[in-house]
């Protein structure tokens, strides 16, 4: 029973990790906390669901559509909410406020579009196949989720640390002005980062939408809060931190669901977040350079 819950937690956690990766990437490169990231996730799930309903497509196509929709929406968000502020070099808090505003708009539109209903994928959209392994039961869907998560993380890490694209991103993350002097189009890199993070959110949206078989306009809000917990726990802007944090939060949550109660799961997550911030605000993988940004002496 315990190992079964651990397994379930790891599966959910890997979907969380995919979502949190995009969130932490945005903070690492652009230094913004995108409060509308949960809405990008939700719109990704909506896009996947609508394309399945309209054209009866396969799971892979739904994933792809969700990714593209999330990426495009995220770039639009950058244009509408973040770019004007970046040009003015406004304070951190201005970007949080504009993204809260954008989030309100996206949520309200989604509520209107979906008529406040909970939507479901068609019956047996994803074949229910069960495997028994050393007394543990695992579904094909769960294996797919973990596999997709691992694939995305590997691809992202490879892209960031082994390609020219990643080198440009890392140099803009280090300093936008310095990379501009070196002939890097920083605005283009910013837009690319927004696209990648939105695509990850959209992918996570379709994965979680299929896994729980429920898509509704408020599905992104709790996930955004989870993502806060995850990236603070792992260290803001840290990719291994987001991965480990995602798995940890997934496991803690499913254990709390199973053994205490569903509301306790949320309370525990926020209590962890709160104490981490107060005791070690740089998180598990926070580097020395992050301390300056976090604390004042």
């Amino acid at each position: 029973m315990l190992t079964q819950q651990l397994l379930n937690g790891l599966v959910v956690g890997s979907a969380y990790a995919v979502f949190a990766l995009g969130f932490t990437l945005l903070f690492g490169v652009n230094h913004v906390l995108n409060m509308a990231h949960g809405s990008v996730f939700m719109w990704g799930a909506f896009a996947g669901l609508y394309v399945v309903q309209a054209f009866d497509t396969s799971f892979a196509v739904a994933l792809l559509v969700g990714m593209v929709a999330g990426g495009v929406l995220s770039v639009l968000l950058d244009f509408a909410a973040f770019r004007p502020l970046r040009r003015r070099q406004a304070a951190d808090f201005a970007t949080i406020l504009t993204s809260i505003g954008a989030n309100l708009v996206l949520l309200a539109v989604a509520q209107k579009v979906s008529n406040t209903t909970v939507m479901r994928f068609p019956f047996e959209f994803f074949p229910i196949v069960m495997y028994e392994f050393m007394g543990l039961r695992i579904q094909l869907l769960q294996i797919t989720i973990v596999f997709t998560g691992v694939l995305m993380v590997t691809a992202l890490v490879y892209a960031l640390y082994r390609t020219g694209f990643g080198r440009r991103i890392r140099s803009v993350a280090f300093s936008g002005n310095t990379s501009r002097l070196l002939g890097i189009n920083a605005e283009l890199v910013n837009a690319e980062v927004f696209f990648v993070s939105g695509a990850l959110a959209g992918l996570a949206g379709v994965l979680i939408g299929v896994a729980f078989n429920s898509v509704h306009y408020l599905m992104g809000e709790p996930l955004l809060m989870q993502a806060f917990v995850i990236i603070i726990l792992g260290g803001l802007g840290s990719i291994p931190g987001a991965l480990l944090g995602g798995l940890l939060v997934g496991v803690v949550q499913s254990l709390a669901y199973a053994y205490i109660s569903s509301t306790a799961a949320d309370a525990i997550a926020f209590a962890i977040l709160f104490f981490i911030i107060l005791i070690r605000p740089t998180g598990i993988f926070g580097q020395a350079s992050a301390v300056m940004r976090v604390q004042r002496r």
Binding site: T98, I100, G101, A108, L278, Q295
Partner: protein, 305 residues
């Protein structure tokens, strides 16, 4: 006129209560602190008032006072670790605090009655009292803002490095701002409970946090009038556009984005700035003949300073 007022009395009450919440947000923003915990302190104040006045049978005024003090105490406890953090992290920590408080209110059913909320709170916060209280708080904050503490907070908001080089303790002033903010939010929560007969956990969640923040930013962050203007605008706007009730959040969200991007100082502060510019310009043009006689550059530039 009296009938019109009677129709909109509840809206008017709501504006006054929200303006207290917006002021609680304004106080921290003025000191350059990005704490968004007002909703949590309002919940503490509201629940304390509701529990003491219904179950323990205390006099409502005493219950509100107790709620205010408790809001202040909790924010004081929070203020010490929070003042060590920088902007974004203060925001995330206080956001988590709001979630924790709402979750407690939802689940501690013996005391808070969970999702049902607490009903039958005596309605003592009438319009007259609200006007008096808000006027008192506005006067207090206005006077405080003119003293050295207000100027210190302005320096800290504009540039922390300058503040430190002038020998100010940033953490000290931010703690004062946070405690003041907790007291005001506790007051807003207590009055809300005593004005609407009932309180529920969802009254104090993320929505209230966003509303308070939007009001303070929309109105302006550097003067207490901004909070009043913001509360008035954002409370009446949905009432005026009843027809578009479905798109209320679209309007509010778009408004928030447009204001931050194009009017970063908020409505009240921008108006004050324009008025100030005009006054200065009139002064300069009035002085011009004399200024021209005395010297060509010195006098003019001194006046504009």
């Amino acid at each position: 006129m009296i009938r019109l007022f009677a129709t909109y009395q509840s809206v008017f009450d709501q504006i006054l209560i929200y303006s207290l919440l917006a002021m609680s947000q304004y106080v921290v923003l003025r000191a350059g602190t990005f704490s968004v915990g007002s909703a949590a302190f309002a919940a503490i104040g509201g629940y304390t008032t509701a529990i003491l006045s219904t179950r323990s049978g205390w006099h409502p005024a005493l219950a509100i006072a107790c709620g205010v003090v408790l809001g202040g105490v909790v924010s004081a406890i929070m203020a010490f670790p929070l003042s060590r953090l920088r902007g974004v992290f203060q925001a995330v920590a206080t956001m988590a605090l709001v979630q924790v408080v709402v979750t407690i209110a939802l689940n501690w059913e013996d005391v808070t009655r969970g999702a049902l909320g607490i009903n039958g709170i005596p309605k003592v916060a009438t319009t007259g009292w609200l006007v008096l209280i808000v006027a008192f708080v506005v006067a207090l904050l206005h006077v405080l803002g003119r003293f050295s503490i207000g100027r210190a907070m302005d320096v800290i908001r504009e540039d922390e490095t300058v503040a430190v080089s002038l020998g100010m303790s940033v953490a000290h002033y931010q703690r004062i701002a946070m405690i003041l903010s907790g007291l005001l939010a506790g007051l807003a929560g207590g009055l809300q409970a005593c004005n609407s007969y009932t309180i529920k956990p969802e009254d104090f969640g993320f929505t209230l946090l966003v509303n308070g923040l939007a009001m303070a930013v929309l109105g302006g962050r550097t003067s207490v009038w901004g909070a009043l203007v913001g509360a008035a605008v954002l409370t009446t706007l949905p009432e005026l556009f009843r027809v578009f009730a479905d798109y209320r959040n679209v309007v509010q969200g778009a408004l928030l984005m447009v204001i931050i991007i194009y009017l970063p100082n908020g409505i009240a502060d921008t108006l004050f700035g324009l008025a100030h510019d005009r006054r200065v310009r009139r002064l300069v043009t009035g002085l011009e003949p004399r200024a021209a006689a005395v010297s060509d550059s010195g006098a003019g530039s001194e006046v504009t300073r």
